[in-house]
């Protein structure tokens, strides 16, 4: 194989496929990505057997067709360091020579025939959504998903499409984030996408983009396609908790607060939560919200901010980190809190299509 291509374009493509290359694996061949050339361009492909990324590149001059496996980390780092606008890749057997600006580098690959094949998705349902909207939905939910490996059940984000609406839901059992969008298609599905796949996808999506992301949901896999890049992931075969039952239908008290004010005040009071017991007490006053934190060995915090209060008031305890994490991705100026007492879930409205439920902390 011998090709001449634009360095920046190649580097970007390598970055996209490298995002699925595993850092640690018992199958060393997975540290590589596959380059396959055809008449009018090349395809880059990498996988960790749970997900796979594929990018097509057409700004390439192919002088000899073929395929080669290249070590992902070294190739990416080398392309970053080169300065010429173009690079030449030439492979014989399992060696690949890279020529650029008078430099000569040889990368030792492995046998392309040993590399896993791309999976084909059969009978998928297709959903089309704007790239910028999809990115927002990932940002608004992924932070709430459980991180621990053991909680396989909710170690992913639910993708629930029905009647022209796509909902993404994530929870770790203590809080739950729901973000939704209306889409033109009528496809129906309810699948759990691994968190890692969504994080990888988010890295490839650009904020506010009006391009179309096409999602194809199969029985076992899901495929995201945007432009020339494609990401395939296995789905998690688990039951997701019934999220609709968790959303409180009514509330005793409604509080409206300026987001930036709340975030600042909550950050300041959470400084004085002890590291092992993160609790901030919310006391709803007359048109005010008072936040107190108490760390018996370090000090106390007491902050009061203005709020628009409707209802009976009262008090409730939260883990401030749960709220701060959500505020970080919130874009509304004024947010709303619907709450009852310290045994009932509290609901935060953090966007036109972004709802966040947090379980309070109760005393003994």
């Amino acid at each position: 194989m011998k090709i001449l291509c634009d360095r920046t374009a190649l580097q970007e493509a390598v970055n996209v496929v490298s995002s699925v290359v595993p850092a640690k694996t018992t199958k060393p061949i997975l540290h590589n990505f596959l380059v396959r050339s055809s008449d009018n361009g090349i395809t880059l492909f990498a996988t960790d057997l749970e997900m796979a990324a594929r990018v097509e590149l057409d700004s390439v001059k192919v002088s000899k067709k073929g395929s080669v496996l290249l070590p992902a980390r070294e190739t990416g780092a080398l392309l970053r360091e080169l300065s010429d606008p173009t690079v030449t890749l030439e492979s014989t057997d399992q060696r690949c020579r890279i020529e650029s600006g008078g430099g000569n580098f040889v990368l030792l690959g492995e046998d392309p025939a040993q590399f896993p094949d791309e999976a084909k998705v059969k009978g998928g349902k297709r959903i089309e959504i704007e790239v910028g909207r999809m990115l927002r939905m990932i940002q608004e939910t992924a932070f709430a998903a459980a991180r621990e490996e053991t909680r396989y059940a909710i170690n992913g984000v639910l993708l629930d499409a029905s009647a022209g609406t796509v909902r993404m839901v994530a929870t770790d059992g203590r809080r739950l984030a729901i973000s939704y969008a209306t889409v033109p298609t009528k496809a129906e599905c309810k699948v759990v996408v691994p968190l890692r796949a969504l994080n990888t996808l988010a890295r490839a999506l650009s904020e506010g983009s009006k391009e179309t992301l096409s999602i194809e949901v199969g029985d076992k896999q899901i495929v995201f396609v945007t432009g020339k890049a494609q990401l395939v992931s296995q789905l998690l075969e688990t039951r997701f908790p019934d999220y609709e039952g968790v959303v409180p239908k009514s509330a005793d008290t409604t509080v409206e607060i300026t987001r930036a004010v709340l975030e600042g005040a909550l950050r300041r009071s959470s400084v004085l939560c002890s590291s092992d017991m993160r609790v901030v007490r919310f006391e709803i006053g007359e048109q005010s919200l008072r936040m107190t934190a108490d760390n018996s060995s370090r000090g106390r915090a007491d902050v009061t901010i203005d709020a628009v209060v409707k209802g009976s008031g009262g008090s409730i305890n939260f883990n401030p980190d749960y709220i701060l994490e959500a505020l970080r991705v919130c874009q509304l100026d004024t947010i709303r809190l619907d709450m009852s007492d310290d045994s009932m879930p509290a609901k935060f409205t953090l966007g036109e299509a972004f709802t966040y439920i947090v379980m309070p902390i109760s005393g003994a």
């Binding site: 017991m277 883990n319 005393g363």
Partner: protein
């Protein structure tokens, strides 16, 4: 065809439950002697007891009219009716021991009552008894058991070597003797005296004589009285712990017996002082009203049950824990005067710390010293009540040497070496301290105290986590539900075979609720909230480990001084929370011996 077995066969089968090896024979015979009120018991063995076991006592002796029934099964003088089973005061009561032994050996009883002129002899071979014959005999009873299992070849083949059987018997007599300090025990093996335990010595003396003199310096007296229950005895310093549980000795109303929740409770009290795989050493006498104890659940009476198992376990835990804390000069609810020597001063010619540094750090301020410059402090329990197991003779608890927090007595000179160890001069000698282990213990105790000072709070779960459990575990959770809730874990039964977790303690909120619950049920069925506390302790330990100074951290003088000040206030400075030692002490004599200054 179903046939009723002949009585000899029945007795041989029954014998298997009671008589397993020579030590079981010795146990039954010594207990009989104790029940007969003996003050002096002599056990003689041949070939580890396989050839002959002779037990001689100076007890009441048999009534001549009882002798024909001596080897009959279910015949006893210790019990008369069913009502007596509720308040068993004697060690034996089943009336099966002699019958069982008689069925599998050649036995001879020689007995004379103190007020009688002549003694009587009766023999029994393989269950066939001769009629009593008058003969001359010393007062008391002499039981001879020869050729054990002569008619049960299978059993005979399973006997261990003579020395192994003898060792087991020695252990057994030692264990039994601890409950009866007023009795003189002698064990003779093949004409050689193996063990001699004179009458009326103290429990600590006897314990050390039986199980090794090196234990003597680390035994702490324990004595607590509760409403309707009394605990007395000894616990050994945690660093004497063994790799097996052989010296976890509990006597219930004078009977050596195990009870699972109490065993667990005492181990729990030792838990954070012991490395994994180590077992504590103790001898505890628990006195309870006889109707609170069921001894009749095990043929060899090795296990008992308590009506109020949870209460007994809780009190034992409290007692042992208080003793372990008490030895460091910390306030203890009952018993013990603590005398701490004055803070030593650095000798001239060496850098001297500002006097305030350690002066105000030591808590509480040392009371007037009666022990002078003694490195060890002698503690005597205040008005120790006479131990319940001293029947007749009042054996008083001896003064027991106890160790103080060694960091309260450092001279103030120190040196950090290898960026890991601190060399200190303490009053006992040269101390080598693992800075990480010691700091870990400091952080751990701070976290625990902070936690104890604040209200329990629970992170509620959005959707209850359902955990499948076995019926036994379900019963445990139902029983412990309230206790768990007090620690912040809200669980409720969820249909048959599952429980739902509604809220978890906030401190443990980061853990997976399912894992947390699964780790709880491995605890003992009566342990209640203790497993939650263990989970908390583990969490604090990992937090402490992360925030403690590491090996390789170079400490400046101020940091070392602060660490030593903090260490001087520790409840348990000798081990890190997982039981690794924090300090190694080379005493003056040890160093002198090494440098051949003395031999």
């Amino acid at each position: 065809m179903i046939r009723k077995l002949p009585p000899e066969v029945v007795n041989q089968i029954a014998a298997g439950e009671v008589v397993e090896r020579p030590s079981s024979v010795v146990k039954e015979l010594v207990e009989n002697a104790l029940d007969a009120g003996a003050r002096r018991i002599r056990v003689e063995l041949r070939a580890g007891g396989a050839e002959a076991i002779v037990v001689i006592d100076d007890g009441d002796g048999f009534l001549p009219e009882d002798l024909p029934l001596a080897f009959a099964s279910h015949a006893t003088s210790k019990l008369q009716g069913v009502a007596d089973l509720d308040h068993i005061g004697s060690l034996g009561f089943r009336g099966e021991a002699l019958a069982s032994i008689g069925a599998v050996a050649r036995c001879r009883i020689l007995s004379r009552r103190h007020d009688a002129q002549e003694g009587w002899e009766v023999r029994c071979e393989g269950g066939v008894e001769t009629s009593p014959q008058p003969c001359g005999a010393p007062a008391g009873t002499r039981m001879e058991v020869r050729d054990l299992f002569f008619n049960v070849p299978a059993r005979r083949r399973f006997l261990k070597s003579a020395s192994a059987e003898r060792a087991r018997i020695q252990e057994l007599i030692a264990e039994l003797s601890l409950a009866r300090l007023d009795v003189d025990f002698t064990l003779v093996g093949d004409d050689r005296e193996i063990l001699r335990l004179p009458r009326d010595e103290s429990l600590a003396q006897r314990f050390a004589r039986c199980f090794g003199e090196e234990l003597a310096k680390g035994l702490l007296p324990v004595s607590r009285a509760f409403d309707g229950m009394k605990v007395e005895g000894l616990v050994a310093e945690p660093d004497l712990a063994r790799r097996d549980g052989k010296l976890e000795l509990m006597f219930v109303n004078g009977r050596l017996a195990r009870e699972s929740s109490s065993l667990h409770a005492v181990r729990q009290a030792f838990r954070e002082y012991l490395m994994g795989g180590r077992f504590p050493i103790y001898a505890l006498q628990v006195a309870l009203p006889p109707d609170q104890v069921d001894v009749n659940i095990h043929p060899r009476k090795a296990e008992v049950r308590f009506v109020e198992a949870r209460m007994v376990a809780g009190r034992l835990h409290e007692t042992v824990r208080a003793a372990l804390l008490g030895r460091l000069g910390l306030p203890m609810a009952a018993g013990g005067v603590v005398i701490a020597p004055d803070m030593p001063r650095a000798r001239s010619g060496f850098p001297q710390l500002p006097p305030s540094l350690f002066g105000d750090a030591v808590l509480p301020p040392p009371p007037p010293s009666a022990a002078g410059a003694e490195p060890y402090v002698v503690r005597e329990p205040v008005a120790a009540p006479a131990p319940a197991f001293a029947r007749g003779a009042a054996a008083s608890t001896p003064p027991v040497v106890s160790r103080l927090n060694p960091f309260q007595r450092v001279t103030g000179r120190y040196l950090q070496v290898m960026d890991l160890y601190l060399l200190l001069e303490g009053q006992d000698g040269l101390m080598v301290v693992d800075q990480h282990a010691l700091h870990e213990r400091v952080m751990y105790e701070q976290l625990r105290q902070q936690h104890a000072a604040r209200a329990v709070q629970s992170q509620r779960l959005l959707v209850p986590t359902v955990v499948e459990v076995t019926p036994a575990e379900l019963a445990w959770f139902e029983a412990a539900q309230e206790a768990l809730q007090q620690e912040g874990l809200h669980v409720a039964p969820f249909g048959p075979g599952a429980i739902a977790v509604h809220a978890v303690p906030t401190v443990l909120a980061r853990l997976d609720a399912r894992k947390l619950v699964r780790s709880l049920v491995v605890g003992d069925e009566t342990a209640g909230m203790a497993p939650v506390r263990e989970a908390l302790a583990d969490r604090f330990h990992s937090m402490a480990c992360r925030s403690a100074v590491m090996s390789g951290d170079r400490l400046n003088d101020a940091e070392i001084q602060q660490l030593l000040v903090d260490a001087a206030r520790l409840e348990h400075p000798h081990n890190c929370p997982h039981g690794r030692p924090t300090v190694l002490t080379f005493t003056g004599p040890e160093l002198e011996r090494y440098f051949r200054r003395r031999c």
